[in-house]
Amino acid sequence: MIFADAFGWLLDPANWSGGKSIPVRIGIHLLYCFGAVLGAALIAVPLGLFVGHTGRGGLVLVGGSNALRALPTLGLVTFLYLVVGGSTVSVLISLVVLAVPPILAGTYAGVQDVDRGVVDAARGMGMTGAQRLWQVEVPNAMPLLVGGLRNAMLQVVATASVAAFVGVETLGRPLLDGIRVLDYPQFVGGAILIALLAVVLDAVLAVVGRLVVPAGVRLSARTGKARPGSAASRRREVPTPVESGGSTA
């Protein structure tokens, strides 16, 4: 019943034209999502690569990232709005803060998880640190890095709704209005749009993933052979009695 009404709202031509129509809100929603994920990637990818590559600062990274995760986005948006004033800036910053941890985690884990033997061989062949990073670690980190981006995008798509609280016309608007005036069809309609958008964006990023993950890495993941960097393979480096057991397995 409620879904029928929601579809009614979704298909109502009145909602498809004008400055506050569904297409405009989708566009604004997308702008915020891409802006936030891009901004977060610009911060988190280099940081994750650096920490993963050097192995320095891993603890600080995990701690800082957990602290960011603990921030309630709605609270942050409201706070920034009160402090900074601009709604666009406060929403963007909040969404970036939300998107940084998953991207950081994916990038860092991606680099860390590259098989120790592979990294050791890269050094032993005479690669410099930068060559090792770009020619070996980054290509092999791609599956987890893209996974981090997808996680970030999913969270940002859902959370960009809160922008409506400070007057930004995202897809949060119908949710907010719907709740405020108890217009459930509008509320559910808005929720459906957000869910659809999330699915579509995730699919797009999945395709991007297929393009940027090297074929050999994808094959290794699929055949389920000790994927570069399983916990077991990492332990190999430490020459304890575990070494011989793990290595012959």
Partner: protein, 349 residues
């Protein structure tokens, strides 16, 4: 030539991995570092290409202190093979092998051409070059690892337990392959293993190391077996070392005796003796028992080859007579196990 001069490595946590190592690896030989896990083999090896720098002492490659060369440059001139091969999962086999040539500035075309040659050299079919490492067997991956290490034709090759993770049958094949390659290429190879059999099989000289980073003995395999420096080496070399040692004693002291023969296909007359069947070229084909039945023969040995072969021949022969052949495989005579053991006894005394 690689020279360790009083080299010590102490890690930050206080572990002394290598303790005052003095050792010269001769150019053009395979030298094996062997010892129990944790005795400092890997650490010693990695000080040659500066994957680890010594706490004190000097490592020289061709008379040059490695600390004077920046690590990437040094390493591009030294082949490096590790246990799990460490192939790059994202690169094809061919591009894996082309790694070092590309790093040193070759064109992609030339590097790939060289890589293809190397695949052939290590006995891999050319079409494997297009595959990814995950699509190869463990043994094939190790061959690619060796090919990759050889790609820029470095004079020195460091190998850290390269064959330890493959099953024993494949391992023997890889060892043979390495010996064949070495006969052709004449590299200076340092090979690390914890397996004494492997060490004896492929090493021209073997450094036995002891936990704590000490060199226990550095000698050719035969000498390790016949004159272990101390109890540690004796026990590490193993319980059956007496038998293994026989591989290094020649059998020239064992007199061969004549044996009645039957030409292959000729009618068999009854007799109280065992008779050896030989073909037209006098190559042994098997035995005829006193009851006139045909029995397959045991192992053969070449006159003058190791006395272990002579003993094996005598013990595996159905007649109790070990068959000796000449270099062309023609019958030279027979020996009994008793004779062989007497010779071994007299050598000992």
């Amino acid at each position: 030539m690689i020279e360790f001069r009083d080299v010590t490595k102490r890690f930050d946590d206080g572990t002394t991995a290598v303790n005052g190592l003095d050792l010269v690896v001769e150019a053009g030989t395979i030298t094996v570092f062997v010892g129990p896990s944790g005795c400092g083999k890997t650490t010693s090896l990695r000080m040659v290409n500066r994957m680890i720098d010594p706490t004190s002492g000097t490592v020289l490659v061709d008379g040059r202190d490695v600390l004077g060369v920046d690590p990437p440059t040094l390493r591009r001139g030294i082949g490096y093979v590790i246990q799990q091969a460490g192939l790059f999962p994202h690169r094809t086999v061919l591009d894996n092998v082309a790694t070092v040539p590309l790093l040193t500035g070759w064109t992609r075309r030339k590097a790939r051409q060289r890589a293809a040659e190397l695949l052939e050299l290590v006995g891999l079919p050319a079409e494997l070059g297009r595959r990814y490492p995950v699509q190869l067997s463990g043994g094939q991956q190790q061959r690619v690892g060796v090919a990759r290490a050889l790609a820029a034709d470095p004079p020195v090759l460091l190998m850290d337990e390269p064959f330890s993770a493959v099953d024993p049958v494949v391992r023997e094949g890889l060892q043979d392959e390495l010996l064949r390659l070495q006969a052709e290429l004449d590299k200076t190879i340092v090979f690390v293993t914890h397996d004494i059999d492997e060490a004896i099989r492929i090493g021209e000289k073997v450094a036995v190391m002891r936990t704590g980073g000490f060199l226990a003995q550095y000698a050719p395999p035969a000498e390790l077996l016949t004159r272990p420096a101390d109890d540690f080496v004796a026990s590490f070399v193993g319980k059956d070392r007496g038998y293994r040692r026989l591989s290094f004693v020649d059998s020239s002291g064992v007199e061969v005796a004549e044996v009645p023969t039957i030409a292959e296909g000729a009618p068999v007359e009854s007799s109280s003796d065992w008779r050896l069947v030989v073909d037209a070229d006098k190559r042994p084909q098997g035995w005829v028992a006193p009851d006139s039945s045909s029995v397959p023969g045991g192992s053969l040995y070449e006159v003058g080859a190791s006395i272990r072969g002579a003993l094996d021949a005598a013990l595996s022969s159905p007649s109790g007579l070990g068959v000796a052949v000449d270099a062309e495989g023609r019958l030279a005579g027979v020996v009994t196990a008793r004779q062989v053991l007497d010779v071994i006894e007299s050598r000992r005394g």
